[in-house]
Symmetry: C2
Subunit: 132 residues, 2 copies
């Protein structure tokens, strides 16, 4: 509080609670547009801008994570543990990879490059179970 010029005390909103529940209830890494359409079932008058604003807040609060995928819009997920993704080049779906994140990789890159490495992300490209 001392160091933040403008402190925000978020108020509760059932719309945001609901949005969070939707993201937590899926593993499909939905886009803002998709979440907007789902949310309209409960909140018919909701605007897309409100969805974007609430997604940003939920990310800031640490409840969800934004996933940026080559050639696609922003996507969101509620899995907070680090993991890798596979993008299906046929249907565009995104799956979580049940593979241990290789912590060693970062130190190896530090040694080789002389850069400071904080983390890494891996995207696999291929065909998902349905499309292969």
């Amino acid at each position: 509080m001392l160091y933040s010029y403008h402190h925000v005390n978020y108020k509760r909103s059932s719309l945001r609670d609901n949005l969070l529940a939707i993201v937590q209830g899926t593993n499909t890494h939905p886009t803002a547009q998709e979440l907007y359409e789902l949310l309209r079932n409960h909140y018919p008058g909701v605007g897309l801008a409100t969805v974007y604003r609430n997604l940003k807040i939920l990310v800031e609060q640490g409840f969800i994570v934004k996933v940026e995928i080559k050639g696609s819009s922003e996507r969101f997920e509620a899995r907070l543990d680090r993991h890798y993704h596979l993008i299906c080049e046929s249907c565009g779906s995104i799956s979580d990879i049940p593979l241990q994140v290789d912590q060693d990789l970062d130190s190896r890159v530090e040694e080789v490059t002389g850069c400071r490495v904080i983390k890494h992300e891996i995207q696999f490209f291929g065909l998902c179970k349905n499309c292969r």
Copy 2:
């Protein structure tokens, strides 16, 4: 030719040759905007749309590669061998990582997931030599 509805025979253009030379002559992974500004030294009247169109053609021809980086515009590079990237979280620069690409990883993910894996990409996040 038989299977493409509309076949395109690209014509030579000194502007495009020049654009390619610029990308080949740097390892900074420039954006279209940056290339546009560089190209204007030789072609003062060039339009940004022309740069985008020619970059697309050069990618299609396999002379350059489009690099998509979290939170940044499209970037381009002329290194055609597979390699990993480090994004500096301080200055935003992108460096190539002199690390062997792990081909094994793809087959391991195939085994674990049951998906078909064609390739993977890794982005490291941290601080480049200058910023650390």
